[in-house]
Symmetry: C2
């Protein structure tokens, strides 16, 4: 047996998230079926970062074990020819036997994109959330600055995932910042990096930040949520389509 690492990009729009589920079209399900076709044996993949239903990735990492000795470059070509046009394998590499995309990960980076314009967007519609009223980026940055560091993020969690029971609800956010694209002023992005994230944590941070950006909450609201530890203080969970897993670090 050898352990392989795949790097993946995908558009999550028409998938029911990553985890293989009977009767559902999922990223993991399509990937495992394609791997089985190419490798001639069933394979179980482990993802490095969570991508819920409708969430995209440009830097997902998965690991799996196989007894097949196919060359990495051949495997990559075969997978990309068969996996469909919503998924792209950007790299295939040999990993150490103990490599586990989830357990070995040191951090995850997500990006959330907003189309901030009175008009909808055609081209970016599957990759952004549309907010028609102008957003105050400075206020949103002020609000999110308080998230950096080690905190209990329980107020930003909607459902408790198995993962979170194991690991508790403390996470260390390394950076979190909003910016407006220099070339395309309608495009507003949030980049956040942490050792890990609770279920729906990024989307709840974004939903709460949007209320701040629209002037419906004060910029101290996110700090208040960290303190209150109460989900009822949070804004709505922002839609999945704006979220992309950008990188898993090891």
């Amino acid at each position: 047996m050898r352990t392989l690492r795949l790097d993946l990009a995908y558009e999550g729009t028409s998938f029911r998230g990553f985890a293989p589920q009977p009767g559902e079209r999922t990223i993991g399900g399509v990937l495992e079926a394609t791997l089985e076709r190419v490798l001639g044996e069933p394979v179980r993949v482990t993802p490095g970062g969570r991508t819920d239903s409708g969430v995209h990735a440009c830097g997902q990492v998965v690991s799996f074990a196989t007894s097949n000795r196919m060359e990495c470059s051949t495997l990559r070509r075969a997978l990309n020819a068969l996996v469909g046009d919503e998924i792209l394998v950007t790299a295939v590499a040999e990993a150490t036997e103990t490599f586990d995309a989830r357990r070995s990960a040191r951090g995850r980076r997500y990006r959330y994109s907003i189309w901030n314009s009175p008009d909808r967007t055609i081209r970016e519609r599957n990759w952004t959330t549309h907010i028609a009223s102008p957003l105050d980026i400075d206020a949103m940055n002020e609000a999110c600055g308080t998230l950096v560091g080690k905190h209990d993020f329980i107020a930003f969690q909607t459902h408790r995932a198995q993962d979170d029971v194991e690991k508790g609800t403390e996470r260390t956010v390394r950076s979190a910042s909003w910016e407006r694209d220099l070339n395309e002023a309608c495009l507003v992005r949030f980049d956040i990096e942490a050792d890990g994230f609770l279920r729906h944590m990024v989307r709840t941070i974004v939903g709460s930040s949007i209320l701040v950006g629209l002037g419906k909450e004060r910029s101290t609201q996110l700090a208040f949520m960290l303190e209150s530890r109460d989900r009822r203080d949070a804004g709505p969970t922002a839609p999945a389509c704006g979220l992309t897993l950008v990188e898993v670090t090891y």
Copy 2:
């Protein structure tokens, strides 16, 4: 009766072109049905530029006559709320009675986009054609430079449209040039402006240019086609998904 001008953007991927056809989902069909719903009377729209099945637009213009006196801004909002997320009405304006989006047009500008990289693209897959081997942009520009001016483009026409019977096959190309995107080196674009285009003319020019860019034809090939007036000298018609109608000028 008053004449109105609509400016439109759309993703053509899942439409059978513009012209309303019974039993087919077309841009014009969806637009006319939405206009009828909003205006309370049947409406016939005329497009300014041709967009075949799968072709996109960011600057299509249509004209139509209506007896409804609804304000332009109200009409625009109502249309955008009902027309679906693949079509966006970017402007609604009062036009002179004689305005006809097709007949009044002085020129059309199209853009063709290629994803030029060994890897496919996820994000741009509906807006580009994938060419894995490197393209020689200088050779493609050399080839297309000869198209500028007034020429008989009959060799670049695949099917004869009704329009072309009326107008003949001479057209004046005002500019035609290839460039590689400065920020995204995988993205190669062709911009072409003319008083009008024959059916499949842009896609045949692109298909022929790609053969030049890949070194499979000489850069004199397009000049040769203009002279021979023979479609059999042309390269393949490039796929519809890379083509966007950018502007109709009046």
